[in-house]
């Protein structure tokens, strides 16, 4: 074999702490190495051209690139090899950036370690063989998990492109958090007026199948061919027959049900449609508060329903769907602010959350758009907004900035003045973070045109005094303590990951961070992809975002799905396990250890039991290869012999430094 070695400087990233020319010099002495050089940027066009040139000039059979992590540029260099006529698997990378130059400052030791890494890469490469990918069909249907604005956008974009879309929504209606908002910043246009038509489009689109009140139960398969099981929760109403007339919710005698859509501002009936613009507009029963389901008495709704669609015996059902790609758009939840005992911990009725306030201002909300104090129903004249509640606060394990609270607080302060012209608003803030288009102008307008008093400082405590609330904080610009008496306090609560998000991530086999947000494949260059092929992200499931960004990401995820579906066949990764049938004794230990169920048992012609790998299911993890007592099952590109060659290269007895 004729091997070529290319040592990359990565500008000063590697060269500052590794002597690259001497690594290349040393590499020339390794077995089978016929060419070695160092280069400023191996990934650049001249860098790649130099590799191609050397392959042709020196008739190379394989290439070692000593540079950055293979996660970054392995595909780049593989393509370069292919352009030079080599098989893409005749490439080995030595990571001398993340594993050497970025973590050590001693240039001498770094150079030794870099040389070692090149040595083992070359030793492994000597045993590499060309691998060839198989092709398989793609199911051109997409699953969108979550029916908020990001999911809706992704679904509509895919459906408009002619792709079949399955949308699964946990709530009884799509619309997500945006549907609960009164107005949106910075244009102050009606939220449901811009979202509503899109929701209707979802319902009426011939390419979209909507499963509301449903959750993803199980996901198996791989990119292009996922098998999904969806649990359709019992709503105790036959949705095929329900016309959404709403008669049941008028007559229901139980009026104490928690109104999730209205954030619990006022109770609602045990049966009903969550809000007037709900999609699908179907009734469902909250079993916890239904007297018939709890005590077996009542059943008024069943008696008066004109289409006889109430079904108290209804059970959950499971539907199976085949899809080729998945978009996760599961959104966010609000931080549970009741851990802030200094703000009353939920004990003071006139301390409300921003989303509750949003419902109070909404014309279709429980107060018909009139701002009223929950305690006595009076119109508040002094409203205090407190920002960063459960955001940028290490004490409650939420050190990150929720991003959009500065803007929605400014919006709510402006709207307060519109609703109650003789009111005064105060905003306690830490910094104003308003970097979007027209955003900073908006917060300025709130201060200058609407006279909202902005006080820079955290609030230390809220306490009731008579029928007002005293808000005590610091004005860090004036360097004094301030106390403001308020009729109503609105907490700008931060966001956290959606409940159950880590659980879903495990089903999707994607990563999530400490806070439960899903991890993108690369924070800058792959913001909507995940490390699992065929699974994409949109909206706040990945991190806090405002509406424009969520919509943009929804469209981006759709574009990724369409790119995937633009091919009729996908190539499988050939770096998978294979069984040497002659060596296999049929003990089937490998089938027991495989976490993906990719190894099955077959009978050979003589009727002996043998193991066989299902190519499309194998993920190439290699657990089976260490289990096999005979070394009969081998992971292609990472065979036992290749790994032993690496170890031998590293542990040469005659090596001296």
């Amino acid at each position: 074999m004729r091997i070529g070695v290319f040592v990359c400087h990565c500008g000063s990233n590697i060269a500052a702490t590794v002597d690259c020319p001497s690594v290349a010099q040393a590499a020339k002495l390794f077995p089978d190495v016929v060419f070695a050089s160092d280069t400023m940027y191996a990934c650049s066009e001249p860098g790649q051209d130099a590799i191609i040139q050397a392959i042709k000039e020196h008739r190379l059979d394989g290439v070692v690139v000593a540079s950055c992590s293979p996660r970054m540029h392995e595909p780049t260099f593989r393509r370069a090899l292919e352009r030079a006529g080599l098989n893409r698997y005749m490439l080995e990378m030595a990571n001398i950036r993340e594993h050497v130059s970025w973590i050590g400052k001693n240039k001498e030791l770094n150079t030794v370690k870099a040389t070692e890494l090149v040595r083992i890469a070359a030793a492994k490469l000597r045993l590499n063989t060309p691998l060839y990918a198989n092709q398989f069909d793609v199911t051109k249907r997409v699953l969108v998990i979550g029916g908020g604005v990001a999911g809706i956008q992704a679904a509509l974009d895919c459906a408009d492109a002619g792709i079949q879309v399955i949308m699964v929504e946990r709530d009884t209606s799509i619309g997500g958090k945006m549907a609960k908002l009164d107005k949106t910043f910075p244009t102050v246009d009606c939220s449901s007026c811009i979202l509503g038509p899109k929701m209707v489009d979802v319902a009426q689109h011939p390419n979209i199948t909507l499963y509301a009140a449903s959750e993803v139960e199980e996901i198996s398969g791989y990119v292009g061919n996922f098998d999904v099981k969806v649990r359709r929760r019992a709503t105790y109403v036959n949705w095929d027959a329900c016309t959404g007339c709403g008669l049941c919710m008028e007559k229901c005698p139980s009026k104490k049900s928690y109104d999730a859509f209205n954030e619990g501002v006022a109770p609602t009936a045990a049966i009903g449609i969550s809000f007037p613009q709900a999609i699908p507009k179907k009734a469902s029963i909250n079993a916890e508060f239904c007297m018939k389901l709890q005590k077996g008495k009542c059943g008024v709704c069943a008696k008066i329903c004109p289409t006889k669609c109430i079904d108290f015996e209804q059970q959950d059902t499971i539907v199976s769907e085949k899809v080729g790609a998945i978009v996760a758009a599961t959104g966010y939840d609000l931080f549970d602010w009741t851990v802030y005992n200094q703000y009353g911990g939920g004990r003071y009725p006139d301390v409300v959350t921003s989303l509750q306030y949003e419902r109070m201002m909404n014309a279709s909300g429980p107060t018909a758009g009139h701002i009223k104090r929950p305690s006595d129903g009076k119109e508040p004249k002094r409203v205090v907004f407190i920002q960063c509640v459960g955001s940028r606060d290490k004490a409650v394990d939420r050190p990150y900035c929720s991003g959009f609270c500065c803007m929605y607080t400014a919006k709510q302060a402006v709207l307060t003045k519109d609703h109650i012209p003789d009111s005064d608003s105060y905003v306690f803030y830490m910094d104003i973070r308003s970097p979007g288009k027209g955003y900073d102008e908006f917060t300025r307008r709130a201060q200058e045109q609407y006279g909202v008093q902005y006080v820079r400082g955290r609030v230390s405590m809220i306490y009731p005094k008579g029928d007002v609330l005293v808000v005590r904080g610091a004005d860090t610009l004036a360097g004094t303590q301030v106390e403001v008496e308020a009729d109503l306090v609105v907490l700008a609560v931060g966001i956290e990951s959606s409940k159950g998000a880590p659980h879903l991530a495990e089903k999707l086999r994607i990563s999530y961070d400490h806070y439960g947000f899903f991890m993108e494949a690369h924070p800058k260059l792959k913001p909507v992809e995940t490390n699992t092929a065929g699974v994409y992200l949109a909206g706040c499931c990945q991190g806090p975002k405002d509406i424009p960004t969520s919509v943009g990401q929804g469209s981006a995820a759709a574009a990724k799905v369409l790119t995937l579906f633009a091919k009729d066949k996908l190539e499988s990764d050939p770096q998978i396990s294979r069984v040497n049938q002659n060596r296999c004794v049929g003990c089937l230990k490998c089938t027991m250890t495989c976490p993906f169920g990719a190894v099955k048992d077959v009978k050979d012609r003589a009727g002996n039991t043998k193991a066989e790998v299902v190519e499309t299911v194998c993920q190439g993890c290699g657990i089976c290869t260490v289990t096999c007592p005979h070394g009969a099952i081998q992971l292609q590109h990472f065979t036992d012999n290749q790994i032993l060659a690496e170890v031998n290269a590293l542990c040469q007895p005659e090596m001296e430094f």
């Binding site: 802030y340 005992n341 200094q342 009353g344 911990g345 004990r347 405590m461 306490y463 009731p464 005094k465 008579g466």
Partner: protein, 291 residues
């Protein structure tokens, strides 16, 4: 239940708040807690020591904790939150090897074993429990509307005190409710009363304590219940000063929680040192039927 537990009265217990000390001992005895005073205990350093020298301050407390351990007392309880803070902070700081060595050098002892410290409030809630308290009540404090005031250091800092909620503690509320009192939700239960600023800056104390009295009065309480000698003094003894400084006319009796518990358990008002209070508590106690 008979449990031997170390008792550290602190300097105020031996002086300005003798009624707290006496009522604590009596209530614990009634509840079957055998208190054993730490032999030859000395001052914990109080407010001045830790502002001058952390090592010296910790050494004062460590000496007491070591004496307790030598007397076979695993746990020491103190009614005073200031003593509690000093004793606990000393234990907390001495978990660090370097700091511990400095204290050892100062004390010329090994500090091999130190007793753990709990407030009397914590011991009564956790080791005795509200059910056992309820069982001993013979004269329930019914009709008595009280506000429980914990002060700023009883539960803070949380990583050192490790008891109850630092912003919204409920231990005293629970105990007083077990004694039959109606406990109103006092929103300023962990606010500062002005503490030792009473000597150099009386205006601060009258302002901060005045605010506490205003809010409590606004809630319509019959009495304020405290767990700290300094808080009790600022609210009770200085109530006249507060009134004249702020033009108010409050006359709210301020009890130690152990005093009210003792009365509910049938102990006499002289045992509880009721006469030591500055604002006349008689009308309120007569109305409650415990006098």
């Amino acid at each position: 239940m008979s449990q031997r537990i170390g008792y550290y009265p602190g300097c105020s217990g031996a002086g300005t708040s003798m009624e707290y000390d006496a009522s604590t001992r009596a209530v614990c005895a009634r509840l079957g807690l055998a208190l054993q005073e730490v032999p030859d205990w000395s001052c914990c350093g109080s407010t001045p020591a830790h502002t001058v020298d952390h090592v010296l301050s910790a050494a004062l407390s460590a000496r007491n904790l070591e004496l307790a351990a030598e007397a076979g007392l695993e746990t020491v309880t103190t009614p005073c939150p200031s003593c509690l803070a000093n004793l606990r902070v000393a234990g907390h700081k001495m978990e660090k090897e370097g700091f511990r060595n400095q204290v050892k050098a100062l004390l010329e002892t090994e500090c091999a074993s130190l007793a753990t410290v709990k407030s009397t409030l914590q011991v009564l809630l956790e080791d005795v429990g509200p059910e056992a308290v309820k069982a001993k009540v013979v004269r329930p404090l019914s009709k008595l509307r009280v506000a429980c005031y914990y002060g700023c250091i009883m539960n803070r800092p949380p990583e050192v005190m490790q008891f109850d909620d630092p912003e919204h503690p409920m231990s005293m509320d629970t105990l007083l409710e077990a004694c039959g009192a109606e406990v109103l939700p006092f929103p300023l239960k962990v606010e500062c009363c002005g503490a030792a600023a009473g000597m150099p800056r009386k205006d601060i104390v009258t302002e901060l304590s005045g605010r506490l009295l205003d809010v409590a009065a606004g809630m319509g309480v019959d009495a304020i219940v405290t767990a700290c000698p300094l808080c009790q003094m600022n609210l009770d003894l200085r109530q006249g000063q507060v009134n004249s400084a702020r033009g108010t006319s409050h006359a709210i009796p301020v009890f130690y929680f152990t005093q009210l518990m003792g009365l509910a358990m049938g102990l006499s008002s002289s045992e509880m040192g009721i006469s030591k209070l500055a604002v006349d508590p008689k009308p309120c106690l007569e109305q409650a039927g415990v006098l």
